[in-house]
């Protein structure tokens, strides 16, 4: 699966490192080239403190923890490759990445939205408890593990491509949609141990899932009508963000992975 990233355009080479410029509409543009994450994040915090609502960050080369410590409803556009643990414990911002994301994206994320116009690495959405994550391409190992939900706080993760092993391990809540758009005709998801230890939440997989691919705590079924509507809404948004054809995507049936028990280990012990 290939795609082209939106180009940061005219300001790709703007100014020396760490420089802040402003677009005519007042939008701040931070050049992250060569500066350390601590300075970059501090710069973003200061900008938000002075009232910035939309910030473009260009020339991002692996700086970590973007979006972590800005508990405001601001929009960040990231051009380049953000580093590990982007949106760790994030509460509020909307981040759009024009590039690939690395490991730990959305770790313990609480509120807000992250859109990745590329692929993401391992342990995506670990212990995520709210907000939504949209990845156009594939994700790595142990994604969606130990996600949680409480009341109306239900995290949503939508992945366009496929995933690696231990997907949705220990899952304790939330919804995940795995579209498998990069798979060739007849090709299936390769991940093993999907949903091992799952005890709440739901995973919707487009295409087929072999019972041998999932943990013994996981049941497989067809999504019901209400769930299909949720899936359709997610697909519609995916298409809006990344392109594609909703009807074509929805034409392939989905499998629902669900936990057989809220208490997978209830009978493990001698009292």
């Amino acid at each position: 699966m290939t795609w082209e990233f939106a180009s940061p355009g005219a300001f790709a080479m703007a100014g020396p490192t760490g420089k802040i410029t402003y677009q005519p509409d007042g939008r701040a543009v931070v050049d992250a080239r060569g500066i350390y994450y601590r300075q970059l994040n501090e710069q973003l915090r200061q900008l938000v403190k002075t009232g910035a609502k939309e910030i473009d960050v260009i020339n991002v080369y692996g700086q970590r923890y973007l979006g972590t410590s800005i508990p405001e409803h601001v929009k960040l556009r990231i051009y380049g490759t953000p580093g590990n643990d982007m949106a760790f414990a994030m509460h509020g911002p909307e981040i759009e990445v024009f590039g690939n994301a690395q490991d730990g994206l959305g770790n313990t994320m609480d509120e807000g939205e992250v859109i990745v116009h590329g692929s993401a690495g391992d342990v995506l959405a670990m212990s995520m408890r709210g907000g939504s994550l949209w990845v156009k391409g594939n994700v790595g190992y142990r994604c969606g593990i130990h996600m949680k939900e409480y009341g109306d706080k239900v995290p949503l993760v939508v992945i366009g491509g496929s995933c690696q092993d231990f997907f949705g391990e220990y899952m304790a809540g939330g919804s995940v949609v795995l579209l498998g758009l990069g798979l060739a005709a007849g090709e299936t998801h390769k991940a093993a141990f999907m949903g091992t230890g799952m005890h709440a939440g739901r995973i919707f997989v487009r295409g087929t899932v072999d019972p041998g691919q999932v943990g013994k705590e996981v049941g497989l079924t067809e999504p019901d009508a209400a769930e299909l509507e949720q899936i359709r809404a997610a697909v519609r948004r995916y298409v809006e963000l990344f392109g594609g054809d909703e009807a074509e995507i929805m034409a392939t049936p989905f499998v629902k992975m669900y936990p057989k028990s809220l208490r997978p280990y209830g009978r493990l012990y001698a009292y």
Partner: protein
């Protein structure tokens, strides 16, 4: 399947002195394990010994002291290898097929080195100090200390203002080197956690939330609370992290090194579910590893994620169980950016652990502490992190010996619980604690009056602090800082050479 006749027999015997018993039914009402029952027809109180866990609640509350609860004298043929405990566990497993659970810390006679270490006192050459009349400094600052402190004189003139130029990292003061261990709401009761936080606030020390979240109503104790980030990440959000004084990453626990935790669904009540932010009645699973940490570099990543999330305003602590390679691991932890490191020894308590793990995995805290302190000193990085230790500290003597071995402060859990009622019956995991400590049953939780418990806990802290001052004064020392890592004030009795080498102390007489 037919009902299986149990081959277990009562662990405790209930003896009721009928001359003293007034049929008041206090024992019937106090027992949460359904041992006592009153039969009005015969005006008789009966006891089902089989259910008794030996928690002594009925005996303590019996107004006429009519009850004696003691270990069952019935013994099979004595056998040095096959002790009764082994027989009981075997039979339990034969009848259930399960992992034997237990609560509290290791109860086996694994070398307790505190009992083999003796303190020094001044005689003639160096006067002892009377703490009743002279100032004694117990205040301790937790966090990363700078390698050196640099100042700049602003003016060329003599007497010009001197300003510090060293960038200080956040430090947290505690008024006594004793803090309350990580015990999560859910594993312990609402009132128990409230008592610990209230007492910490009253005395100027700290209490640790454990990994089960932090109820809103307890946020007012924010200046005295350490929050934990464990593999379950229960209740962790930006507000939780920023409300606390210190953030602690939990990687291991002395009672169950290497394994995670399962808070059973029946303990996840509506309130616990809200605090942990998980559905009511579901198992709260803490996986064994933190899945974003597979290396020291990954640990560094989480440490700095938490520093970013708290804007570098709070020390980040990392807790591990005391295991074989603790010194090398601790060195990595400090280099990864930990401002505080915590070691939890094999005698550390728990609300629930597989007994086979509690009793067989880990090492005594004394050895781990001495070796970690030694290693960090040799590497020249000891000042970069405070060193906290946990795991079965019974009195102020144990605490002061730990300071002399190199600890900055000590975590106490079991000792604090004994102060508010616990008798170490080890049945925390049943959720039926008759003392209201490790239960979420409303009728049992209300047995614990938080204000009275706070008084008991602050009394305990005051008493231990006084004793520490007396011992310090006896050594001719007026500041705890001067004793820290000062092993010349310790001598060993009854230890092998390798043990003295590991502890870095001389034998008594030398």
């Amino acid at each position: 399947m037919s009902v299986m006749k149990t081959h277990l027999w009562p662990e405790f015997i209930i003896e009721r002195n009928d001359d003293r018993c007034i049929r008041c039914e206090v024992c019937v009402n106090q027992c949460s394990f359904e041992v006592h029952s009153f039969d009005a027809t015969f005006n008789e109180v009966f006891a089902e010994d089989m259910n008794c866990v030996g928690c002594q609640r009925c005996q303590v509350f019996c107004p006429t002291h009519a009850l004696t609860i003691r270990p069952n004298p019935t013994q099979p043929r004595p056998n040095a290898n096959w002790r009764v405990e082994h027989l009981f566990d075997l039979k339990k497993q034969a009848e259930s097929g399960g992992i034997v659970l237990t609560g509290m810390g290791n109860d086996k006679p694994i070398s307790i080195y505190w009992d083999h270490l003796l303190l020094n006192a001044s005689q003639v050459t160096n006067p002892s100090i009377d703490p009743l009349r002279e100032p004694m400094e117990l205040r301790t600052y937790l966090g990363r200390k700078p390698d050196r402190v640099m100042f700049h004189r602003d003016s060329e003139l003599p007497g010009g203002p001197v300003v510090p130029v060293t960038q200080m990292t956040p430090l947290v003061p505690i008024e006594t080197p004793i803090i309350f261990s990580a015990m999560s709401y859910g594993a312990i009761s609402y009132n128990a956690q409230k008592s610990l936080m209230q007492a910490a606030a009253a005395f100027g020390t700290l209490a640790n939330t454990g990994e089960g979240g932090w109820p809103r109503e307890f946020r007012k104790f924010h200046d005295n609370v350490i929050v934990q980030v464990a593999s379950g990440r229960f209740g962790v959000d930006l507000e939780y992290l920023n409300d606390a004084k210190i953030v602690e990453i939990k990687l291991g626990q002395g009672a169950k090194p290497g394994i995670g935790g399962h808070l059973p669904g029946e303990k996840v009540t509506a309130d616990v579910s809200q605090t942990r932010m998980i559905p009511e009645g579901s198992d709260a699973l803490s996986p064994a590893p933190q899945h974003d940490i597979y290396s020291i570099e990954d640990l560094g990543m989480l440490i700095h994620a938490l520093k970013e999330a708290t804007r570098y305003e709070k020390p980040i602590s990392v807790k591990i169980a005391a295991v074989h390679n603790a010194p090398a691991i601790a060195s990595g932890m400090v280099r990864a950016g930990a401002d505080i490191i915590v070691l939890d020894g094999i005698r550390g308590g728990t609300g629930a652990a597989p007994k086979i793990i509690r009793d067989n995995v880990g090492i005594p805290i004394e050895l781990a502490l001495a070796q970690v302190d030694e290693r960090l000193r040799k590497e020249g990085i000891r000042q970069q992190a405070s060193l906290l230790v946990a795991g079965g500290f019974r009195n102020s003597g144990d605490v002061i010996k730990a300071i002399a071995l190199g600890a900055d402060a000590v975590y106490i859990g079991t000792a604090a619980f004994v102060a508010i009622g616990c008798t170490l019956c080890q049945k925390c995991y049943t959720g039926k604690c008759a003392w209201g400590i490790t239960t979420n049953r409303p009728d049992l939780v209300k047995r614990l009056n938080p204000d009275q418990c706070t008084e008991r806990l602050t009394n305990l802290l005051r008493a231990w602090s006084r004793e520490i001052k007396e011992m310090l004064g006896g050594m001719g020392i007026n500041s705890l800082e001067s004793l820290r890592g000062n092993r010349l004030h310790l001598r060993a009795v009854g230890l092998n050479q390798w043990e003295m080498d590991a502890l870095g102390v001389k034998g008594a007489g030398f």
